[in-house]
Amino acid sequence: MTLTQLEIEVEPANGGTTVIRAVGKLDLSSPPQLRDALRSQIAGSQSLLLDLSGVTFTDSTAIRALVTTVDAAKVDGWDFGMRSDLQTPVRRAFEISGILPLLPLNDD
């Protein structure tokens, strides 16, 4: 049985902001998928918005991809934002891990 845990959709920038939308659950199986999507867009975009509003669960294994992207945006001088309407379990995981204040959550 194949369990589809996470689906990632990329909305190209068209001169503006690239949007990466994730739906599902982020856990041990997810970091490569999320990291690859973020990395592939970082190269060709000056502005990236990550939408995790469709993610219903995350644990700490997905956090490295987020922290790496925050750091890369700062170092390379491009805009990285995240939608702030996180589902409660996801926001809670970010709070418990201590990374919530580091995330560039936008007002929607």
Partner: protein, 139 residues
């Protein structure tokens, strides 16, 4: 397991792969709901179990094949979840996919936690949570 936790309510063994983490998480989450925890508290238990099972795969087995064993007890207002593996222990790993946040997160979520290195190898993570419906029947 002696009192106050009473009899074992659940015991299972799962392959030490990412799909196993999901199954463990959902199985224990269902028992946490049975214990009378609200949705937010059930989510916390699932998060802690996900961290413990992921630790077994990443640090215990180092992505090699293995088995994760889970036991759940409840009684006297407490829920005890034990996640055990037969891996190499909790030694740090430079190429870890995480940031070493798993155990500190479990410590924040659980009422108490303990990491045990049994004499015959492997690691056991014991986590205790509140369990409103887990009142033990007097003997």
């Amino acid at each position: 397991m002696p009192d106050p936790f009473g009899e074992c309510r659940y015991r299972g063994a799962f392959p030490a792969v990412a799909a196993g983490v999901r199954i463990v998480r959902d199985e224990v989450g269902a028992i946490a709901a049975e214990c009378g925890l609200d949705n937010a508290a059930v989510s916390d238990v699932k998060l802690a179990v996900s961290e413990a099972a992921s630790n077994a795969i990443v640090h215990g087995y180092r992505d090699e094949p293995g088995e994760i064993r889970v036991s759940v007890y409840y009684g006297s207002g407490q829920l005890l979840v034990i996640v055990a593996d037969d891996g190499a222990g909790m030694a740090p790993r430079l190429d870890t996919p995480g940031l070493g946040l798993g155990l500190p997160m479990i410590a924040t979520i659980a009422q108490s936690m303990e990491v045990i290195a049994p004499d015959d190898g492997g690691t056991e993570i014991h986590m205790i949570f509140p369990c409103p419906h887990g009142v033990q029947t007097p003997a």
